[in-house]
């Protein structure tokens, strides 16, 4: 436990010094702020852009709190996944390539601790980013629409974080199997595409992490069913990715 804290402390400091924390927080905060704004003002912007298109514009229903939530979910998941791949693809690969992994792992640091500290640190970075996005999104939704159920909003953001952590864990695995962060990023993007494809398959899609977003939207709107199976699969994917990464890393020569 002591060594985990020592390595985690260094990883957290690295999140700060390498600007990963700043980038994740700023991007997610901006999309947290912008989502209710976009939902509210997009029809008005269209009206300004299409002064002659009154008939078309009349077809657009007035914006609701549901639009703000769905805009928030769409933006945070898309940019969250992109950030997860970008931030995690070099975590291990770069250290192996540069030699810092070899230098540090010749000291009494278990390889499992080396990996888990990186996952926890990046996970906390995303938790901080989503917290900021949630606070700003909640506040602007309150200003522009109506108050959201606080518990439902917290649940939505917890599901969002779980969804993003799947991609953090899988990208960390990709970063462990290769010495190149470019190859690692490429492998992770293949996984993103495959998982998106599987989410679109009827029945099978109900078990995929993407279903968490449907559940999250339903929490706020009051419609939809919990997707416990998708949550189980998501947590399972996170654990499996970390265990496989550890097993692979234990066997690697540095």
């Amino acid at each position: 436990m002591r060594i985990l804290w020592v390595v985690l402390r260094k990883e957290l400091l690295e999140q700060w010094r390498s600007y990963r924390l700043l980038i994740v927080c700023v991007v997610l905060l901006l999309f947290g702020l912008a989502s209710p704004l976009l939902a509210k003002y997009t029809p008005q912007l269209l009206r300004l852009a299409l002064p002659e298109g009154e008939e078309i514009l009349n077809l657009i229903p007035p914006p609701t709190v549901g639009d703000a939530v769905s805009q928030y979910l769409k933006n945070i998941t898309q940019f969250g996944v992109l950030l997860a791949v970008l931030m995690a693809m070099g975590l291990v690969a770069l250290e192996k390539d540069k030699g810092t992994a070899g230098l540090m792992l010749a000291k009494p640091i278990p390889r499992g601790v080396f990996l888990i500290a990186k996952f926890v640190a990046l996970g906390l970075t995303f938790a901080a980013g989503i917290l900021l996005a949630a606070v700003s999104g909640y506040y602007y939704t309150l200003l522009l629409f109506e108050p959201l159920s606080l518990s439902a909003w917290l649940g939505l953001n917890a599901l969002l974080l779980t969804f993003i952590l799947v991609y953090v864990a899988v990208t960390l695995l990709c970063s462990t199997v290769t010495d190149s962060q470019v190859v690692s990023g490429g492998l992770a993007l293949v996984f993103v595409v495959v998982l998106s494809g599987l989410s679109a398959v009827p029945r099978l899609g109900e078990f995929m992490p993407g279903q968490l977003n449907t559940w999250a939207a339903g929490l706020v709107t009051g419609h939809g069913e919990p997707a416990w199976a998708a949550l189980g699969v998501s947590v399972g994917l996170i654990v499996a990715a970390l265990v496989v990464a550890w097993l692979v890393f234990e066997r690697q020569e540095l």
């Binding site: 260094k10 010094r17 390498s18 030699g99 792992l105 010749a106 009494p108």
Partner: protein
């Protein structure tokens, strides 16, 4: 108890036999030069001792702890400097040494004291709070030695510690290694013979994954002593020196003649004949002599002889 003991270490990379039953023993407190041409298996040996690579067969002990059986126990007993050390560029040297101290479980007071001592030893006090990303190669190597000493290891493993440095950086680092004599066992891999001659008490020569010679440096020089003479001429005589070298090379009692500017090094098979013939031959050739002497064999002579013969003879 030996500081490092290796028995029958074997490692293959595809079709390349990197280590072929390597065995050696290093006495505590010595500065051991692990000498060999590029690709001989030096780095592979060190990576196995640090646990970064696994041997196909054989065993290794560090300070009595078997590396393969108790890697974490062994890792507490070593300090390691890889060939091209890389650090976290966003950290300062002080932070990095402090981090290594935390890894080894030193208390805050111990870390503060040790960090100060090591920054002083490595000559990095003034640069201690600068980011490592801005360090020169020499500063990086010195930081590498400092971080390897944080846990006061009984064994220090240095993989080609001076290979990438300029002459000034090399001198500084060799002085640093000399300061460690007696404090811990230094196991230093290198292919630079002059560095081994300067700092190492004992030498092991590895070739094609096998130890072909191992002894204290002076003993090795005596064992593989090759009688040699050096003749240095005035710069105006270098043309004649070259012609004379060709004639001498053909003599049956001469093993080899090497020329470097105005100096000829003549390695002989029969010292008696050489003593009678060589000087007279040089004078007859009209060489304008500045120096003529029988020289002690260099480690380079020993190295070439041992590696070429595979340790026989």
């Amino acid at each position: 108890m030996t500081a490092i003991r290796i028995e029958g270490l074997t490692k293959r990379f595809g079709t390349v036999q990197a280590l072929d039953g390597l065995s050696l023993a290093v006495e505590p407190g010595s500065v051991y030069g692990f000498l060999g041409p590029n690709g001989a298996g030096k780095t592979t040996t060190i990576r196995i001792l640090t646990g970064l690579a696994r041997a196909d067969a054989g065993r290794g002990w560090i300070d009595g702890v078997e590396v393969t059986a108790d890697l974490r126990g062994a890792s507490r007993r070593i300090g390691y400097l890889p060939q091209d050390p890389s650090f976290y560029p966003w950290m300062t040297a002080r932070e990095f040494i402090d981090y290594v101290g935390r890894v080894f479980g030193l208390s805050a007071a111990e870390r503060a004291a040790r960090t100060g001592e090591l920054l002083e030893l490595a000559g990095l006090v003034e640069a201690a709070d600068r980011r490592i990303g801005g360090y020169s190669g020499g500063m990086g190597q010195r930081l590498g030695i400092a971080q390897a000493l944080v846990n006061r290891p009984p064994v220090l493993l240095l993989d080609e510690p001076v290979s990438g440095l300029d002459p000034a950086g090399r001198r500084e680092l060799l002085q640093l290694i000399e300061q460690l004599r007696g404090q811990c066992t230094v196991f230093m891999s290198t292919h630079i013979l002059a560095d081994v001659e300067r700092v190492c008490d004992s030498v092991g020569i590895i070739s094609r994954g096998r130890l072909v010679a191992e002894a204290p440096q002076q003993e090795l020089l005596q064992r593989y002593a090759v009688p040699a003479f050096e003749i240095e001429v005035d710069s105006r005589s270098t043309g004649e020196l070259s012609a004379w070298a060709d004639r001498v090379r053909a003599q049956p009692w001469v093993a080899s003649v090497t020329l470097e500017r105005s100096v000829a090094r003549v390695v002989v098979d029969d010292v008696g004949v050489a003593r009678r013939e060589l000087l007279g031959s040089a004078l007859d050739a009209g060489l304008d002599l500045n120096r003529y002497e029988m020289v002690r064999p260099s480690l380079e002579d020993v190295f070439l002889k041992v590696v070429e013969s595979g340790g026989e003879g």
